[in-house]
Symmetry: C2
Subunit: 239 residues, 2 copies
Amino acid sequence: MKSDATAAVLIIGNEILSGKTQEANLKFMAEGFARLGIKLAEARVIRDEPPIIAAVVNELRARYTYVFTTGGIGPTHDDVTAESVARAFGVELVVNEEARRRIASSGRELNQARLKMATVPEGASLIDNAVSLAPGFRIGNVFVLAGVPSIARAMFAACEGELEGGRPILSESIDVYQREGDFAAALEAIAKRYPEVDIGSYPFSRDGRLGASLVVRGTDGARVAAAMTEIRETLAPAD
Amino acid sequence: MKSDATAAVLIIGNEILSGKTQEANLKFMAEGFARLGIKLAEARVIRDEPPIIAAVVNELRARYTYVFTTGGIGPTHDDVTAESVARAFGVELVVNEEARRRIASSGRELNQARLKMATVPEGASLIDNAVSLAPGFRIGNVFVLAGVPSIARAMFAACEGELEGGRPILSESIDVYQREGDFAAALEAIAKRYPEVDIGSYPFSRDGRLGASLVVRGTDGARVAAAMTEIRETLAPAD
């Protein structure tokens, strides 16, 4: 059991950086990594440019246990993820026969564009796509998923069995209707007594009332619960 | 006029990487940069850890014209952005008198926690916060904004006048109810004739119908319009 497993998410797509599209895959992947006991260390959003994609893939795969990419594996000219990952690994692009069979099974013409979706870096294995047939792929510690959220979710679920995590990261939270500036000192004192858990404070405004969501996270359930009990007793006593 | 101005967005916050919170600032900032003619080259999400924040700030500020950070400037112990940016620039943290005055003007106790929100890297200038008084700050080409979306928006608007962009990046789009695999070759042929614009294809499924949103982006309005006309005539003729 690899308890120090780490991950990075690499979101490939000009549509996110132009403001056209709201990014919609990071949150569910982050929840998935937490459930699996894998620390999501960072996420990046980069443009559809092969030299950039290849360089960032190489940087991230050397640094983290797992790298998950989303986007850029469709049939159009702006889908450049497969060629970029092949470049990162220094391997050729090849047509994967199983991928070709799956895509052909739709009955639609297997033209050059569709054949591109069966083309993966040499040595890659396929990631099932329960939604629309065209698979993602894995090479080394890099998992290449589609960007369309419904497909990305299906592909992420298909990969979970291949990931070696640690103890799941547990989380408890409570909302308090106090200003952060009023409780920060008390919260910091508690955080210092529980160095093995992460305590976060996230301010909000709801229906004109200011407050904060206090979140305790860690792998030791007893310590997470004890820290939350102290927070509740100190900041939100049920007087 | 700096027509090659670039930007990076740095999102600081464990709450995004744990899956607790949906990121909600990147899209409006991306739209703002496009409007200003600044190319948003990348975005990163990193954890609330000062050594990591400082290293990434230094990497990004050397590489891009502007760096915008969000998150981690509140009063609680997990708000570590100001100290991390000071570390990146090799300067001390100092209490900014104007920031102190603004925060004190709320009438609430100016305790240690609230004073922390008036503490910025030496040499920084303030970024107005029309929502909740506590300002952001700018040092060099790094703009440090709050993470709460309503405040981040107000702060971004307050910074716009300080940014030197180029020609606004124009965009036209059309939705076609065809499969990408069927039109990819025709679209690529058009993209090759218009190398000075970006043409993207973003597949969707709506009410059970598959299609794609085709987007043309560039600074030359005539070329953007011409490329879109070709796309419309080729892929969505009004027969």
